[in-house]
Symmetry: C2
Subunit: 570 residues, 2 copies
């Protein structure tokens, strides 16, 4: 595969659609000038195209495996990770005090996107390390920070997150791993964790596990969970990796995709650990890490979608089938339905990417200004970025297979790999169903304030587009009004089941409307150009989906629960 990093797309988004001006006006991010962001994106694109993308097939064909208790990684992955680490990409948004670059999350979004497109399996290692860095920055003691952050930021060590247990998946509060106070400032952590991404590797350095466990007599449920740092190798007095901790890899999962990413069953046997944050403050710390990871997983979906799109586009430009008078060359891109699929893929990738960047900028603005409204905006957008980004990843990879016809089902072409790899993204870091529940419940606890504020802004922008693009502006404006009405209905529902019964279509409709807004802005900045044409396609053909989604979203729970488990089994 020849992957071309979407450097220009990010430059365009930053300069014309989402706008980093506000960010650049803050003290925190004043160094992120256009020159700087352009240069960084160019460098990133080069790394991904030249060093990372060639590893992608290796990861699938020669997946990670367990050998005498040690995870052996796919050929080239060690060198690939070294290139990422040495370029400073692990710590791109991390605190400069500990060696990070302190750049905005908007750039991290681009890193996630392009690295996932190049090699999703490998990208998970830096992404989880970034999540751990952020959790430590916010919650760890100065001592732990000083010991771990420089090594994680430099990529010398990697980080994992250990939440899931066989009977505690989405329901984290059901976990039963234990921690006992050793009386010397350390804890003995015991239990089994499953689905631990990059739980071990042969890159050298250290593997740092953040583990959720319960102290004796802990409060039941999710409130009684504490977080511990449990390194694979115990740091010696100089902070270098020393003797083995009681941490082992029991087995690796045999998965549908991302074979290059070792998914471990981890065993902790009175492993030495250090408390991160307060006792029973585990969930707060974990949420920092999870919110970061949710943004990241959305970006993974977008990245794989882009790679699958480029792959399918190249095939459609080469493959000849069925010359017609309208399509004298006979390449399949000339056939209306193939072109419809390609346009759908491209239009949805743009929408998902622009939403993710908006989300990242909101996080950055919240960091830079401390403004509650930006925090609320970021919180509102995170489940949308995650769910719409990953649904787009699955749908686009799917269309990529379809464009390849029979060849799409044959593993050699690589189209199937995108589809198998990306399939995990709507599941992990909170399934997309859980993202939707988060959106309609937790993120609407403000009575819809953040949602209405966003819709107001969308409508203001749309008003400015009316003279130039009256029809597109009207369509986006009307979709925005429908979204407002649906949101009003939603927040008026006190029975949460009524919200949950339509949560997934509600979230998707929201993404559709935001996509319409962002496409319209892109069209304004590229009048008569490719982006205007893509916006017309999106607004005419894809945006209308919001209407049927909102009908579904407002159906309430009654008909759903009328269908009993017995009815479903008939």
């Amino acid at each position: 595969m020849t992957y071309r990093a979407p450097v220009e797309d990010y430059n365009f988004l930053f300069d014309h659609v989402v706008g980093l001006e506000g960010l650049r006006a803050t003290q925190r991010f004043e160094d992120a000038s256009a020159d700087v962001t352009h240069a960084i994106l160019t460098e990133l694109g080069k790394l991904c195209e030249e060093k990372i993308a060639p590893l992608q097939r290796n990861g699938d064909l020669n997946g990670a495996y367990l050998e005498n208790g040690v995870v052996r990684t796919s050929p080239g992955f060690h060198e690939g990770f070294k290139a990422i680490a040495e370029g400073g990409w692990v710590g791109i948004s991390a605190d400069p005090e500990y060696g990070g670059m302190g750049l905005p999350m908007a750039l991290t979004a681009a890193v996630t996107d392009m690295m996932s497109a190049s090699c999703l399996s490998l990208q998970l290692a830096p992404m989880l390390t970034q999540g751990q860095i952020e959790a430590l920055e916010h919650h760890a003691s100065d001592e732990l920070k000083a010991l771990y952050l420089p090594k994680l930021i430099s990529g010398e060590w990697t980080g994992t997150m250990n939440l899931t247990e066989p009977h505690a998946g989405s329901d984290v509060g059901a976990l039963s791993s234990k921690a006992e106070d050793n009386g010397d400032g350390t804890y003995a952590v015991s239990g089994q964790k499953i689905f631990i991404t990059w739980g071990d590797h042969d890159f050298g350095g250290n593997v740092c596990h953040l583990v959720l466990a319960r102290l004796p007599d802990a409060t039941p449920g999710v409130r009684g969970i504490s977080l511990f740092m449990v390194p694979k190798l115990l740091p010696d007095a100089d902070g270098n990796p020393g003797e083995r901790n009681g941490v082992s890899v029991v087995s690796l999962e045999h998965k549908m995709g991302i074979h290059g990413s070792p998914t471990c069953v981890m065993q902790f046997d009175s492993s030495k650990g250090w408390l991160v944050g307060k006792k029973e403050g585990g969930m707060a710390a974990m949420f920092t890490m999870m919110n970061n990871a949710r943004m990241g997983v959305g970006g993974q979906g977008i990245g794989v979608a882009d790679a699958a799109y480029q792959h399918a586009l190249a095939y459609a430009q080469e493959r000849k089938q069925g010359k017609t008078p309208e399509n004298a060359e006979g390449t399949i891109i000339g056939h209306a339905d193939v072109r419809r699929m390609l346009a759908t893929m491209k239009a949805d990738i743009f929408a998902a990417r622009a939403i993710a960047v908006s989300n990242a900028v909101a996080i950055d603005m919240a960091t830079a200004t401390g403004d509650k409204a930006w925090k609320a905006r970021a919180a509102l957008l995170t489940p949308i970025t995650k769910a719409f980004g990953t649904d787009t990843g699955v749908a686009v990879a799917e269309m990529g297979v379809q464009i390849h016809g029979g060849m799409g089902f044959i593993e050699e072409t690589g189209a199937a790999q995108f589809s198998r790899d990306v399939r995990i993204t709507p599941i992990y870091e909170g399934t997309n169903g859980i993202q939707a529940m988060d959106l309609v419940a937790r993120k609407m606890m403000d009575g819809g304030e953040a949602a209405f504020a966003l819709l107001d802004e969308v409508e203001e922008d749309v008003e400015r587009a009316r003279d130039v693009f009256p029809r597109m502006a009207r369509d986006v404006w009307e979709s925005c009004e429908s979204m407002r009405e649906a949101t009003e209905w939603l927040v008026s529902q006190e029975d949460m089941q009524n919200r949950f019964a339509g949560a997934v279509p509600f979230l998707r409709a929201f993404a559709r409307v935001l996509g319409g807004h962002l496409h319209l802005k892109a069209a304004l900045a590229d009048r008569g150009g490719a982006r205007e044409k893509l916006a017309r396609f999106y607004i005419q053909r894809l945006l209308p989906e919001h209407a049927s989604l909102l009908t579904h979203a407002q159906a309430g729970a009654e008909d759903l629960y009328a269908l009993t488990a017995d009815d479903l089994a008939v």
Copy 2:
């Protein structure tokens, strides 16, 4: 996996929704009484549950492989195929004169559905044989019929179809395989064919290849193609398999799914073949086979969907995560979004299955009465059955993975296999894009007559439901009117690109409307029961999709072709 065959669903469809009464009133099918069809379905269900379903995982884990030029099949597949053959299931709809049961296609639809649900890889062997039987019945000489039909119908021999070549996939007319007259009533067939399903096996008997090739000085393109019967082993004077023909398997494809089905690259080197039908009559004969196969592939999608649904339902009833006041037991089926997914799966399976059965009944009525209107009805429904059945297969298997959460991505649970296996169905036997083009072009050459006749019938049925279910009747009636308007717009478009640009959403909208009609009929026959509740769910939440699809369908080609290949590459 414990698969439960949908015997009751078929009994209900035959007795109350699609109605075999008309069929039973014909001389041709007067023996297919309710007692007979019930008994056959029960027998079929037993075979699928007990003998076939246990083979499904084997096929995935121990796929077919090539050993010294011979295809070795998955463990248990030979015994499975024998059970199918001995039960008479290969020849269920075949001509009794040659040993077939002569039963309606409506029953074959049930066979395809249940066998595909049990083991898609194995089911392909009888399905392709059935297609070959039908092609021979319609087009072969009496001599060929007498020699081949009894052996194919009994399952002693199997059949394949050889169309595709590396540069001739959807564009069959581009094929370059050659046939030369040997002057003794036989032909020498040479060429390479790819994607040949069950191109070889180790079941014994014979493998009979129907091969498309060109005679010398043939008319260019699709009109110049002839069809040949090329057996792996040349029948001797008694009709028993004799010496080897020049037919060999070059390699097997490494596929995303259906590992148990050997997908062969076949080489024909001056292989001895017999002309089937007239010279240059290959496409007509092949279409008989393909139409049968298109119905069949739609049924495959429905079958796998049902198996994936049952698998996910069982998991949702067992898996405990997140007790709430509304869901005291905490099984995930109690969560609104999981229930929404299950209800969607079940409602769409019913819609797709009922459409397929309507299609089969139309074929049967055409066979029994010779009535052109029934033929046109069957022709209209075939692309809808194929595309909606297989899209439902993919979407339902996808939701099955999602309901399993992280476990869905782990191969051991089997949820992923359904998703990988069924992925081929929207591609082979004409991609779903090609089905949609067939619907909006070839099947509308009558100016929409068959489509309008069907919509008229739907509206008559809906009128009869108004008193009982006023709201549901109104919704289905309105969707039907929208469909009528869209069809009127469609047939008025002389520029075919305008039709093609929205063909896929047009087809899907048609399926949605027909699904509404069939659900409504089911509700009438089960007032207050599970089927009424499912109909309410479908009509309230899934049917509304038709509106946004029809907006898309009527957008025309202008905006699509405005996006040039260069624009798509930006």
